[in-house]
Symmetry: C5
Subunit: 83 residues, 5 copies
């Protein structure tokens, strides 16, 4: 899993059925690039989180029908800019 920081929600009106009712978030990788993740844990902007990728990302949402390849797995306690 990777350590990322939540940046903001993402607004996507026109999307595929497999991602219909899911909140999406823009997350920043440690190298500064942006990715999009599903968030089942309620992270807030600025939180450091770890993310699950691959087929485990679907299971990690708790609903295998959600067609994501990146899911927030948890909010890291007390992490700051050391990465």
């Amino acid at each position: 899993m990777e350590i990322m920081r939540v940046e903001s929600p993402l607004t996507v009106t026109n999307r595929v059925a497999g991602l219909e009712h899911i909140g999406l978030r823009v997350v920043l990788t440690s190298s500064g690039s942006r990715q999009v993740a599903v968030d089942p844990v309620g992270a807030r902007d600025g939180n450091y989180v770890f993310t699950v990728s691959g087929s485990a990302a679907r299971f990690a949402t708790g609903n295998f029908d959600i067609q994501t390849d990146l899911t927030i797995g948890g909010i890291i306690d007390g992490w700051d800019e050391e990465s």
Copy 2:
């Protein structure tokens, strides 16, 4: 998922059976490299989209028999060059 920009359709006459009747699009990653994605949402050239990779890309098309590893998951509202 990753944020990409749609560049153009891609013409491929000779292809495998698992991708026979599917529209393909050239998409640009945030680092400027080109990839090829299946588009089930009807994105237009220049649209910013997010893409789903891995085995979720097949499910995201709505038809698991489509043998893609990259599918456009949605068109991002109001995104511009900030990435």
Copy 3:
């Protein structure tokens, strides 16, 4: 999927059972590195192709028992050095 160029066949006498009777090809990525792909479409040296990776690569061959992680999905019409 990625856009690659076919460079040459690859000769591999000693290989695993899951890749026994398959033609293999060396392909060049857009960044110039070499990879090895299964070719079910009959591409020729110099052709620009797109490649399918991950578990979809097995399905794309038309035979799930072929243990590949990279398969040529189609030959791109009229593509040249623009990538």
Copy 4:
């Protein structure tokens, strides 16, 4: 699989159900970036380990319901800074 070095445990109080009772560890890749892995072998800080990624990471824990994409597969005997 990749060779990594264990850095420290990771404290994550708020996490998804699929990773509820699992010890997580921060591991350093050979290029110096940090990732998060599940540890079923009892590695200690500073140990060199190899890690399993993808769907094999779930099986490697011995419990397919653990929603990880990176698992420590073993502690390497007598490895030091040569990587």
Copy 5:
């Protein structure tokens, strides 16, 4: 699949059950980084091989219960330093 060169065996006494009785090898990628692969073909140090990754790596060993994400798929005939 990728082209790599076998460097040496890897000694790992303490490992997960899914990799218990398997020979592991350190392989060098074309960019010079080290990875760890399962070897079902009997490659020797210095051999150029191609490697299979992802879920196909498990099938390529001939035993899906081996929890690897990288397996040597074959020894390349007559390959030398051109990569």
